[in-house]
Amino acid sequence: MNGMLSTSWLPLLAIVAPIVGGMLVFRAASWERKAAGFQVVAVCSATTLSVCAFMAYQVSRGHQIELSLLELVPPIRLALRVDAMGALFAMTVASLFVLAQAHAIGYLSNDRRQWAFHGFLLASLGCMIGVALAANLVTLLLFYELFSLLAYPLIVHERTPKAFRAGLKYLIYILSGGALIFSGIVLAYWLAGSVDFLPGGVLPMTAPNSALQTIWCLLVAGFGVKAALMPLHGWVPDAHPAAPAPFSAVLSGVMVAAGVFAIVRVLLEIFGPAMLDQLGVLPWLAGFSGFAIVAAAMLAVAENDLKRRLAYSTISQMAYVSLAATLLHPVALTGALVHITHHAFFKGGLFLCAGSILAVTGLRRISRMRGLGWRMPWTAGTFTLLALAMTGLPPLSGFVGKWTLGTGMAQAGGFGHLAVMLLGSLLAAAYLWPVIYRIWQRPEQDDPLHAGASRDERHERRGWMLFAVLAAGAATVALGVAAGLPGFPLELARMAAEQLLGPSAWK
């Protein structure tokens, strides 16, 4: 790749527009000015989405965009850089947030604090884009802390004691993680004199191993909290059911992924493959990831609450990515990055479905969802589709990610990795199939849930919620069927792997 660099204010626009928009939405946060709030949300989300799409297009043409802003502490600048990995993640984030915003309009339509929710969601979109496009660790930490804090009001949105407990747990986990990251960054800066992301790593090979291992532990554990790397996942199964469904979708789809994203950045652009081999730390990460894949999936099988089951599934699915990253193999890495994107849509979509089900029927427990499919055919149908995508059924998007991951692992000789991943997939089928089976069972005639409902209530509501759910389904199909087309995630992920590991890694 002949890295054509150019400076542009576009990445800043993608970050600032939603943050400013979020503040404006607060001003419009009343019933009377619903239209104004809606317009702001629509315009800002659309701006960010189109800017991200344009940047992704530029990147796929071989350009890279850089923007260096003011100096925070010498010589560390607030700097943004759009490379293939960042562009792909930014694009994913921006699209999923659009779906979440759309779903939230319907989901929260009777909520007094609806526009506060939209405002926080919009502001956290800007910060997430900042994480995707950060050019150094300090910039990444800045946006990472901001969106972590912004997530708190979204988690406790419903103001129930359960939500507050989940929110508190979330904060304790995330703030401790942030502290570890801060220590790791200071240490890394002290050793390397720079914390810019640079393919191949910035840390000096001459540094003592113990110091490097300390940095590795601090950074991986710190971001691992967000990435729900077991055993640091404690907040995940509580925060997801407590949050309103559109935010659960974002939380699972891209926020947990942001932790994994940051881990990949740290591994490949702070340490670099050569140093990781020398340090011998990768087997540890692989071990923890493998454990997470299996253990979280088993917990998911045992879970009755639908959103909790999906949350455990996120832990398992995101561990695929960190497991694949430890192989330092381009195909595996491509699979990992593309899996982040595909997972965002199918898992986000599943959460949106769960939200729609909750909003229409008030059901959380899987065991009570018998016959739901006959009552809400479109939502249940999309749920089924997305669940099949997650289990890896071709030609849906989940298959593309897993196939690439699997071939990468095989090519890298990681057959143990492959076995663990296949076991995870098997378990994924085990925790999703019962849901599908349950919702398409014929309802019993005397089921109070259905017997009591009038004809109107039996049917799902149309409108924004359904639109978001169907859009997630359509995205999953499109990403699977057309995965090979230029401009689709697979191409960007390939470019990213090439940029991160160097062209020679492809052999």
Partner: protein, 493 residues
Amino acid sequence: MIDWPHWLPLLAVLPLVGGVLTPLLFHRLPNAACFWAASIAALTLAVAVALLVRLLASGGFGYAVGGWLPQYGIELRFDEIGALAVAAGFIALLSLVFSRHYVARAVEPDRAPLYYALVLINLGGLNGFLVTGDLFNLFVFMEIFSVSAYALVAMARAPIAALAALKYLLLGALSSLLVLFSVGVVFAMTGTLNIEDAAVLLDASSAMPAGLALAGLATGFAVKAALFPVHFWLPDAHAAAPAPVSAILSALVVKAGVVGLLRTLELFAGGDDLLQPLLTLIVWLGALGALGGALMALVQRDIKRMLAYSTVANIGYIFIGLGLATASAVSGAMVHSVNHAVMKSALFLAAGAIIHRTGLRNIDDLRGLGRRMPITAFGMAVALIALSGVPPAAGFVGKWQIALGALEAGQPWLVAVLVVAGIVVLAFGVRVINALYFRPPARVPVASAIEVPASMWLPVLLLAVASLALGLAGTPMLAFVGPAVQSVYGTIP
């Protein structure tokens, strides 16, 4: 105009004279006294800014009082440390503006002019302390700002205020005595009171008298700065004082102790054997203060006591930085002194606005106030987050630089101290923010509260915005204090 030489003495003389005149001119007119005091403070700020402009243009400069040249006469000096006078003027001005409505309720009406007089005298004493180049004057100005501070604490109506002021007075008097005694020792050893001159003449190698003087000065200023374990006067005094006074005390008066310590280090620059143990001790005490203060803040229920303990924690940070004696740590500590002043005054003023409206000080009672007093609550939330050192807010610069300094000095455990203290600070910040925004109102005064008048929310908002903006100005500020670091510590890595 900028080069007019007499700006420098005016920095201290203006507020002192203005302060003395206040009760004479306005003893029946508390409102007019407020306008008068604010105008004087604004003029003082303008003078400080003019001096800063000259400093930036041509470096540090001196002034011989009465035309008597240094070594014989009294010298005033304006250097990068003295530039703290700009922050002092800014915060004093905003506190005075804030006081107009606050003091009408919190202080006996016939004492209000006295209150404004004391605030101005306090500012004058601080400014004099910052710019004097003379050891005895250092003591005199210290007494001026200390005594006015004791009186200001006692001004509050609560019965606890008198007791807190007494505690503050006893400790303060003891520390002043130590400083005076040490100044005497230095004078006896060198025959001069000029700091620069004495630094050259002082035989720092002689352990006994010089060590005694150093110990006396360091202890005295440590008490003024509320360094752990001589901090115990601070929570009572800062919590009991009227809120604008708490802001000035926490933001500025304790920083005078820090500046005093810097001047002491300047004085003993030659004596490494003496300084090294002191610096090591300061690091340890600072670390204990940072952790202890943060933890004590976490368990407080009274919002002002919580903020007061957080000041102890931040003073701990600053002393860690000063004690580490590496360029990044010291410059970080200096910058953090200013940033903390801005953040903490925003917090105390916001707390004052809340107490003014609702009369509630218990954090759990403030539930739901974010909806009723949006601007005040916003200011408080922003300043709390900035305080915890989340980038890019103002707290980050100091935390980063001091952590980096700890690594440079080979003491990585201090990074852990800073980080843990940072988490605790964020934890109590979250506790307050949670109460303000995410809980339904539990108390009647909250449910009926309305936003304070603009003269109260505007200072809060300005300071809150400044505590975000200063985080973006980290690099120029660090570059600005660079020469001061060199002059205090000599050439250090």
